[in-house]
Symmetry: C2
Subunit: 235 residues, 2 copies
């Protein structure tokens, strides 16, 4: 008879390891996620982790998967495809937002993890419903999701220290570097320095980012339609 899980003295499990790795990354940054540190947190030898992850890349993949698992996929409705797409992309961003320092790890996992695949499939569904060919839906969907990941990882101020003092210092230093520029040579950048360093409202930052993606999709679809129409007229 094989030992049941209650009999084996399993002290570690991959889910909890990935969870505390994600925690570590959120607080101290991705470079702080180390096999050795993670082992220490679980009061175990570094080598013990290799029972559960084949190597560090595998651990980072688990972190990415954990973030994607937080996606709360909205149910299909009777709304227009582009309205539903906006809701879908917003749900995606919502899952990433708590983890700006490591959201980039999802890039390589969207087409592998189950929740990522579900998101990708649903995105393509809506794009095809809107009128894209399957191949165009793939390329457009891919870039849209990648752009939104970048929107989160580049959220101004997100990569600073968690420590509020060091954080203010970093922001002040950035502001100073822009303030030192010649307003004559860079009138617009210096005028918008505050916005560039840290947007007035984070919610607006994300709303505008998502709008930009959705508007791009609508616009490209219209252009492709024109091209087809023009091609038809040439006959």
């Amino acid at each position: 008879m094989p030992p049941t899980s209650s009999q084996t003295a399993k002290r570690l499990d991959p889910d909890k390891l990935a969870a505390s790795a994600l925690e570590l990354a959120d607080v101290e940054g991705l470079e702080a996620v180390t096999i050795r540190k993670l082992a220490q947190r679980h009061e175990v030898t570094p080598m013990a982790l290799y029972r559960h992850f084949s190597d560090k890349e595998d651990l980072l993949a688990a972190i990415g998967d954990r973030i994607l698992a937080q996606i709360d996929l909205p149910k299909p409705t009777s709304e227009r495809w582009d309205v539903q797409l906006r809701t879908l992309l917003t749900a995606f961003v919502q899952a990433l937002r708590p983890h700006p320092k490591v959201a980039g790890l999802t890039l390589y996992r969207i087409l592998i993890s189950e929740p990522g695949l579900a998101l990708g499939e649903r995105t393509m569904e809506l794009l095809v419903e809107g009128g894209f060919s399957v191949d165009d839906a793939a390329e457009v969907g891919r870039q849209s999701l990648c752009s939104l990941i970048t929107l989160v990882t580049t959220e101004p101020g997100s990569n600073e220290d968690t420590d509020p003092i060091a954080r203010e210092d970093a922001l002040r230093a950035k502001r100073a570097s822009l303030a030192a520029l010649s307003p004559h040579r860079y009138p617009l950048i210096t005028a918008a320095a505050d916005t560039l360093i840290c947007p007035a409202s984070t919610d607006r930052y994300y709303a505008l980012g998502i709008d930009l993606v959705v508007a791009g999709i609508r616009g490209v679809l219209a252009d492709l339609g024109d091209t087809h129409a023009a091609a038809s007229q040439q006959k």
Copy 2:
């Protein structure tokens, strides 16, 4: 009399160091860029590099700056703002394309290096000419440039080994992982597997990516206009 540069036996200079670091990254990837390896390439002790870069971060910044320095900023013309913007963004992508493995380093340098600032200022100029407020131009421009950087760093196939054999292996493995999916559960993803793994044409991939960004900008501008119009009507 201070020694002229011909008298000092300077064996290293930051420009050449950054250049060979970029070369190294292009061929072997960013993780291969190491103070020690770079020193070895120049037949020098690792510590010698610290005369020219304050630390590794500084070296990576120099790589980013080197890429941005390749931007060939198009001259202003009498074309419409959005046509000129497309040309400008294309020039930006053109500078990044030779370096998909390290183009991400430019993210933190756009608002610091001179060519990056020139690009940012010109982008904002065109956006303001199009009708954006200065602050909106800052946010929209920022995300547009970030999206294009991501477009390059996620160019399918770009992060594989340079070795054509290993490269084919990696692509085949990815294809297999998508091919193993249930076409019943993921009909669109499996149907578009080839396109997702490696787009039919790289030039088309980039053209579509830039179109998406420009169309998004145009669309958001129109929406903002509507909002203003609606707000005016409410008076």
